[in-house]
Symmetry: C2
Subunit: 420 residues, 2 copies
């Protein structure tokens, strides 16, 4: 059997566990050197593939590859670059084929969200459309949790845990001080299109009075009156109010609240930051002292508090990607399957890339309470297992030991360079 090389690329916004997928993939490939030659990684995602900027992962020690499992962010670099249609951007696909061919690559593993699965699907068709035989496996990853078929998207569970832990802690802080100090605390979380991350914060509210007292979702048009009434009720009842707001919350007219409030000294709109707008609204109408936090990248890189379930699933999907390829599958994506039953158990299944590409799954309305400010039991039941378990990285000198790979470039073989 002729041995072909593999190319692995990370795509889109990185997560706390995407490297755990890389770890699963590379460790599994290393067990099958009879069938898979070298695993290359594209530097900075698909851009590295197009510019023939490949990394030779065989030069990394087993220990360093193992350390990927507990290292956040993208060890090989990622990018935001979507390949266009085959018709309009044929040159890109031809270039990919040239790079693959020059480096004897016949396995392509693309680790990303919806857009990336679309790209993976297009690449998988290089065989029929351009006559280049390629095994192409998409691997899911996105904190947005909006991929279809899979029970959840790797990366989401760890953000979910981070926001739930953070609002529980900050909520206790505010509760301690509310008599004479801050009465309202607002934490802004990611989720431009869907409220999954905001919803996850609701897991912290296990008993009446627990933070968060209010969650603002992108799915629910913001109603200032109802919101202010709810804030006031919470302050009257519990002395304080802890609020989680999704960056994607919109006004009734569909515009983002984050774009409605602040201008800088030059009169330009200040982008980003719905929390200060909400804070100001409360201050102006109810007069409460407030504080707000914007977790931003801290939430998606927080490997120190990653969900063990998430880490394990991310690893398993990387492993499964290699196994699917070796089983002769192509144009598929391994997925997490939730087994029936009260106890959370999961296994690995697969989905056709054709059906995955460009489909976004939104949060069901029945996961949000009737008043629009909280999560339902159904939502809790779905989300709770995803934050289950802790998986701490090793520490040295009080800091987590994250690995930096050598990332040695593979010698280029093509004469032409390529402008992306």
């Amino acid at each position: 059997m002729t041995k072909y090389n593999a190319l692995y690329a990370q795509s889109g916004g990185v997560t706390a566990v995407i490297n755990s997928t890389a770890c699963g993939l590379i460790e599994t490939a290393r067990k099958h050197t009879d069938k898979i030659g070298k695993v290359f990684a594209a530097r900075n995602g698909i851009i590295g593939a197009l510019t023939e900027d490949l990394i030779d992962t065989t030069l990394e020690s087993d220990a360093d590859i193992a350390a990927l499992r507990h290292t956040p962010a993208g060890a090989f670099g990622s990018c935001r670059h979507k390949l266009g249609s085959m018709e309009k951007h044929r040159a890109q696909y031809e270039r990919l084929m040239e790079v693959f061919s020059a480096h004897n690559i016949r396995y392509f593993f693309y680790n990303g969200g919806g857009d990336s699965q679309d790209t993976a699907y297009k690449v998988s068709k290089l065989g029929e459309t351009m006559g280049y035989p390629i095994t192409c496996i998409g691997i899911p990853k996105t904190i947005d949790n909006d991929l279809p078929f899979t029970d959840n998207s790797p990366g989401f569970g760890s953000v979910a845990k981070y926001v739930a832990v953070s609002i529980r802690e900050a909520g206790l802080d505010v509760a301690s001080m509310c008599l004479t100090s801050t009465k309202v605390f607002i934490m802004e979380v990611m989720g431009r299109h869907a409220g999954w991350i905001a919803a996850a914060s609701g897991l912290a509210a296990e008993r009446e009075g627990d933070a968060p007292h209010i969650i603002l979702f992108p799915e629910i048009a913001f109603d200032p009156e109802a919101f202010l009434k709810k804030v006031q009720e919470s302050v009257k009842k519990f002395g304080h109010c802890a609020i989680v707001v999704s960056e994607g919350v919109r006004n009734q007219d569909g515009s983002f609240i984050s774009e409605s409030g602040l201008v800088d000294a030059f009169g330009h709109k200040q982008l980003g930051g719905v929390a200060p707008v909400i804070a100001k609204l409360i201050k102006n109408n109810l007069g409460y002292k407030y504080h707000w936090a914007l977790a931003d990248y801290l939430q998606r890189s927080a490997r120190h508090i990653a969900s063990k379930t998430d880490v394990e699933q991310a690893y398993a999907l990387g492993k499964a990607a290699v196994e699917l390829a070796l089983a002769g599958k192509t144009a598929v994506m391994p997925i997490i399957v939730r087994e029936p039953g009260e106890t959370y158990r999961w296994s690995i299944g697969e989905a056709q890339l054709e059906k995955v590409a460009n489909v976004e799954v939104s949060m069901p309305r029945h996961y949000i309470t009737k008043d629009g400010f909280g999560i339902t039991d159904a939502c809790r039941k779905y989300l709770s297992p995803l934050i289950g378990g802790e998986d701490y990285p090793p520490y040295r000198n009080g800091l987590p030991c994250y690995v930096t790979l050598k990332n040695v470039a593979v010698a280029k073989k093509l004469e032409k360079s390529f402008e992306v």
Copy 2:
């Protein structure tokens, strides 16, 4: 020997480990029931003492008191209320004496920062000034790390660890994506008057190129030109730039940068948030895509990533407070003493409250690099052991189990109420 009761009160901004001090104090007192009667806690700090709103901690189980060690924020409530001078606010001191007397309290433990040590000192003088015999022990606590005599202030080490871990993680995220996405990341941290917390983030930069690349300290007047040059250098050299900025950074004229930039839709100045101002400055001058985070209360309540050293020291100080009281000491504060030698070892010492009160320790200039944007080896040597070790709380359902005490009120004995 007649047994007297004790009163414990938490004061000022809460921390991830102030309850560890409460735990050390109550557990130690419970071992000396032959000498100390009940330990009461003042609800919401000194306000509870003034309004006779006391909590009977003897009604809490040993397990719940033990759980205080891993629970952030103030379990009995805290407040920002400074007792004025004995001359001008005599009524408050008389009231305290009445409450103490009514509840047979002759031990007063006040757990707070500089202001609180001043209060503790004043209370300690009730004996001579008002003829009420009281043993008064101050216990240090403040994330600001500005108390004199003690090697560090409990609460600081855990914030320090949080910011160092967070910037390491977010820095990796930005590094992964910088080719096509965010090039500059800014994390705003607490520290209105001193740069200790900002400095601690510098521990994450162990090798060249590590985040943070720039730290902005309150101690160094902000020089936009030098700063922008440094940002540009970092982006050119490493592809990105991770910045930590203290909320207390000031312009050359001494004004806070956080107050200089943003106005809301009504033209009012937007308080808080130096990070967006810095971000905008970079965007306007260098054009780099940016993201920013504001950790706010998340940083001081982050018990999930507390420093083990901090937790142990906080506990030891609570224990020592009781031991000092039993040894007949008064008007003192137990402190952390750093032992000489290369390996960090510490013991408990004591300082006179009279000398502690209202003295603020600022960060030495030689802890900041010459260019004003980083920390020196001397600073690193001082800070590093303070974030040493992890001390994870127990988890249930993926979330840390923090205790909520019963906090049963002690029946009031005084007829008069008291307005604070």
